[in-house]
């Protein structure tokens, strides 16, 4: 039976269930020291002096590092811009430890290394820093104004990038369209909140002048490259290893400043040094996605045909732009979604503030884009007197127009081309699953009992699996067991299982005999990382290619060994055999031993050494996944609490290698979206002081908030890669906010409540209800 397409149980699970996982903080190296980070209490200040003398006197304190110390260790202490773009006019990036200025609360200033964390934190309190507070760029809507306080003292204004994404003749459309609707949306997305905070540990071997860096990183090769570059060393002098990771959701994809001070400390002390961020630090210093303000106008003809969309997007970038303008760029490119849209224009302004940098969190700007478009669709449906589902369906790109050139140019310079999909069919599946057609009756019955229930719908298209590449290195050992190294790393997605499934079919080997190892720069020479729903497309297809090549090598060698024709060979149950002649067979172990050769003997018949292959997959463009979600909510009009009662997802991520783990990805994504719709808010006061820094103040969705989610899948393979797969990591989140808030608005239709913001917390919803009641 083929393993591809089956819901194989995860090989990762037993170890994790026994509590035997190895997360970074679970690794106790001999001689280990622990670090704590001194961070800025000010949103913007000049550092006049740092006095570490009393802290250093404390028993058990080994080292305190400041920027000046790192300047001796690295060619520069300023981190590079990871994704440059000529549109960025202020390419500001942070220093590893603050150099003279701090620009957000939580910015690292000094690293303290001690016997244990308790002592390190004692020492933290004894460091005396003299600050000169500077004017603060707080709320991004204020910061964008002329004469606003600037986030960096040396800049004139806070705008760090402006660009336009457009196609078609927008002005003409809006000059002539019979129906035009406008709205403004404030959207806030909180942070990633993996349950494990950021984690890192460095150990230095003086003899070989080699650093091993353990990091809970979604992108280990980036860490290696930047470290080597900034130290001016060869990349063979550093190895980055990713232990088990307790979730990432984008935030652990960044190459953070803390990595470099911890690595330096280990080198200077010649002892392993570990740094575990605490949760408060995670709130203030791990990147967010945060605030956006959108204006939108949508145009329709009398028959409900979508004619055009235009708007503006103001994006809070935070104090630095280490990941460039990726998030707003993706947002502006995602608005058109699954619709036939003749004309589009989005003017984007990115503004610096004195808050931690904004970089992608699960969805990366797409949830906000989907919210903007889908809310406008709902508005149009209401105004045109149309059913929201049927208005959408009327405007989807039909399947026979695939591949479809959407009109925009993507950030890699290529035209955005939706490669595959059948949006109306996927929509129909979700509609059927949700029993949408009988909802009106359910709603009526509920209202007669004084209950306010509503339904919301949202659709999206997501570019997944972007390049440049990912690699896989596959080896069959003389034991007959298979090892797969790949360049990216896993944070709970189930790579070990799914990649083994891909290889298992090619090599005829049981999942139990395949070991999959990610996130070790020594296992696979190059890699990009696990983010942007790209691992299954890139690394998955690399595994496929490499195992196909290894299969050919096995067949070639076996054909020589057994004197049989290559085309008569097949592989199963750990052996290669001649079809129909069960006696003529060799185990993969025997073949591996054979191709490993004997000293002094030439390998015969053009056979290559080793059953091994390193292969990279390089996609030409994104593979576009899509979906339609529906949510049913009940609003308690006395408390403003919106409870999501039921939730449905119609989803197309192409071929599913393991439907169970795909459903898991969608589920987790929906939960994240539900948090963004109803609770999650990283609040700052007007001085950019964070005010939600624990899980009492910042609410994450709990089991009691989550509905049962039902899923239906459509599997339209992408022609973009041999496996026909599209990414699935973010699709659950992208439409969820729009679907849930649409449902709330629908539930409150009797009050005429309109919602143009996310999240919508209970107090705010109550305010809107009160306000509507008065009118």
């Amino acid at each position: 039976m083929s393993s591809f397409g089956s819901s194989a149980k995860r090989v990762e699970d037993p170890v994790l269930l026994r509590g035997e996982g190895k997360f970074t903080d679970d690794i106790h190296l001999p001689g280990l020291l622990t670090a704590a980070m001194l961070r800025s209490p000010y949103a913007h200040a000049r550092i006049k002096s740092i006095d570490t003398s009393t802290a250093l006197e404390l028993d058990g304190v080994h080292l305190i590092l400041k920027n000046a110390d790192l300047a001796l260790e690295y060619t520069t202490t300023e981190l590079p811009l990871m994704v440059p773009n000529p549109l960025i006019t202020k390419p500001v990036t942070p220093h590893m430890l603050a150099k003279d200025y701090v620009r957000y609360v939580g910015e690292p200033i000094a690293l303290i290394v001690a016997e244990d964390r308790y002592i390190a934190e004692d020492a933290l309190e004894r460091v005396i820093v003299d600050y000169e507070p500077l004017p603060v760029a707080g709320d991004f809507r204020e910061a964008v104004k002329r004469n606003a306080a600037t986030a960096h003292h040396e800049i004139e204004d806070n705008v760090c990038a402006e660009f336009v994404q457009a196609f078609g003749n927008v002005d003409e459309v809006f000059a002539n369209a019979p129906h035009i609707y406008k709205n403004t949306f404030f959207q806030h997305r909180g942070a990633a909140h993996p349950l494990e905070t950021r984690a890192m540990m460095a150990t230095y071997d003086e003899l070989s002048d080699h650093l091993t860096f353990y990091a809970a990183s979604q992108s280990p090769h980036r860490v290696r490259e930047i470290y080597a570059k900034l130290r001016g060393i060869d990349d063979n002098q550093v190895r980055v290893v990713v232990p088990d990771i307790g979730g990432g959701f984008g935030a652990k994809g960044q190459t953070y400043p803390e990595y470099f001070s911890v690595a330096a400390a280990a080198r200077l002390l010649r002892r392993p040094v570990k740094y575990m961020e605490d949760r408060r630090e995670n709130f203030t210093a791990t990147h967010h996605e945060r605030d956006q303000l959108w204006t939108a106008e949508i145009a329709f003809n009398d028959d409900g045909k979508l004619l055009g969309f235009r708007g503006t997007l103001l994006h809070d970038s935070g104090a630095y732009v280490p990941w460039g303008i990726i998030t707003p760029y993706i947002a502006a490119s995602t608005v058109p979604g699954p619709y036939l849209l003749p004309a589009y224009e989005m003017k984007v302004t990115c503004v610096l503030t004195n808050k931690v940098a904004v970089t992608p969190v699960r969805g990366a700007g797409r949830p906000q884009a989907a919210f903007t478009m889908e809310r406008m669709m709902d508005t149009a449906a209401l105004e045109l007197g149309r059913d929201p589902a049927s208005l959408r369906r009327q405007n989807y790109i039909p399947a026979d127009q695939m591949p479809y050139k959407m009109g925009l140019i993507f950030r890699d310079g290529s035209p955005i081309t939706y490669d595959s999909g059948d949006y109306p069919a996927c929509h129909d599946k979700a509609i059927e699953l949700s029993e949408y057609d009988s909802f009106k009756e359910r709603q009526k019955a509920a209202r007669s009992e004084g209950r306010f229930i509503g339904i919301g719908i949202a659709s999206y298209v997501e570019g997944t699996g972007l390049g440049p590449f990912e690699g896989a290195n596959i080896r069959v050992a003389p034991s007959g067991k298979v090892t797969i190294h790949y360049g990216a790393s896993a944070q709970g997605q189930g790579h070990q299982t799914v990649f083994a499934q891909i290889a298992s079919d090619q090599l005829g080997v049981d999942l139990a005999d395949i070991t999959v190892i990610g996130g070790d720069t020594q296992g696979c020479p190059y890699g990009i990382g696990t983010f942007a729903s790209r691992a299954i497309v890139n690394a998955g297809n690399a595994v496929h290619q490499a195992s196909e090549a290894v299969r050919q090598k096995i067949i070639k060698a076996a054909s020589y060994m057994m004197e049989a024709a290559e085309e008569d060979m097949d592989l199963a149950e750990g052996s290669v055999f001649v079809k129909g002649v069960p006696k003529m067979s060799r185990t993969l172990g025997e073949v591996a031993e054979f191709v490993n050769g004997k000293p002094g003997f030439t390998l015969p018949g053009g056979i290559e050494p080793g059953l091994q292959e390193l292969s990279y997959f390089t996609p030409k463009q994104a593979a576009y996944a899509n979906g339609t979600h529906l949510a049913e909510v009940e609003v308690d009009v006395e408390t403003g609490y919106a409870k999501v009662l039921r939730y449905w997802s119609g989803h197309d991520c192409g071929k599913m290698i393991n439907p169970m783990t795909v459903e898991g990805q969608v589920l987790g994504g929906v939960a994240h979206g539900l948090g963004n719709a109803l609770f999650e808010w990283m609040r700052y006061d007007e001085n950019a002081q964070p005010v939600t820094v624990n899980y009492g103040e910042y609410l994450l969705p709990l089991a009691s908030d989550m509905p049962h989610v039902q899923q239906v899948h459509q599997e339209i393979p992408t022609p973009q890669n041999p496996l026909g797969v599209k990414g699935a990591g973010e699709g659950g989140t992208i439409p969820a906010i729009a679907a849930i808030i649409g449902a709330i608005e629908n539930a409150l239709k009797p009050f005429g409540v309109r919602i143009s913001e996310a999240p919508i917390t209970p107090p705010r919803l109550l305010e809107l209800i009160e306000c509507a009641r008065k009118n």
Binding site: P14, G19, T197, D244, L667, G668, Y695, G696, M706, H708
Partner: protein, 158 residues
């Protein structure tokens, strides 16, 4: 100098006699002093539930309790659930129902549900959801966890 305290306790059936600092949390003691790293720390302020262990059969937050408070207690951690490496029925059900992704919340979830199923062998879905509403999971959307607990309750009935 910090004063050290002698404590004796049983963890997963094994006896320990240790010297600890007064301020050492139970979670740090388990993780770093006796190397039982299955108990995780997600927030260190008592909300996420990742550090949940059983103290004398009742759930407690390892991050909110001091090691000295566990003197003479019997503690069960996630490492104490499997028997000779064999997953118990709840762990097995977690695997069957895809109740974990990154696995970071899992130890706390397992301990909370171990207590629930002891106290209420026939929980309804709502009971399970309430029981684990003190445990945060960012990965799974909770659905698999709820399904696993309900499946175990049903199985144990047979």
């Amino acid at each position: 100098m910090t004063t050290m305290h002698e404590i004796t306790l049983k963890v997963n059936g094994a006896d320990y006699a240790c010297e600890v600092e007064g301020r050492l949390t139970l979670a740090d003691f388990l993780r770093h002093q006796i190397n039982l790293t299955g108990t995780h720390l997600g927030c260190e302020h008592g909300v996420c539930g990742a550090c949940t262990v059983l103290v004398n059969g009742k759930t407690a937050r390892g991050c909110l309790m001091l090691a000295v408070q566990a003197d003479e207690a019997e503690i069960t951690t996630v490492e104490g659930l499997a028997v000779n490496g064999e997953l118990n029925d709840l762990q097995q059900a977690f695997m069957e129902h895809h109740a974990l992704q990154c696995g970071f919340c899992t130890p706390g979830m397992l301990m909370t549900l171990t207590e629930l199923l002891e106290e209420n062998p026939h929980p309804k879905e709502q009971d399970v959801r309430e029981a684990i509403s003190g445990n945060i999971c960012r990965c799974t959307g909770y659905q698999g966890i709820v399904a696993a607990a309900l499946a175990v309750a049903e199985q144990r009935d047979c």
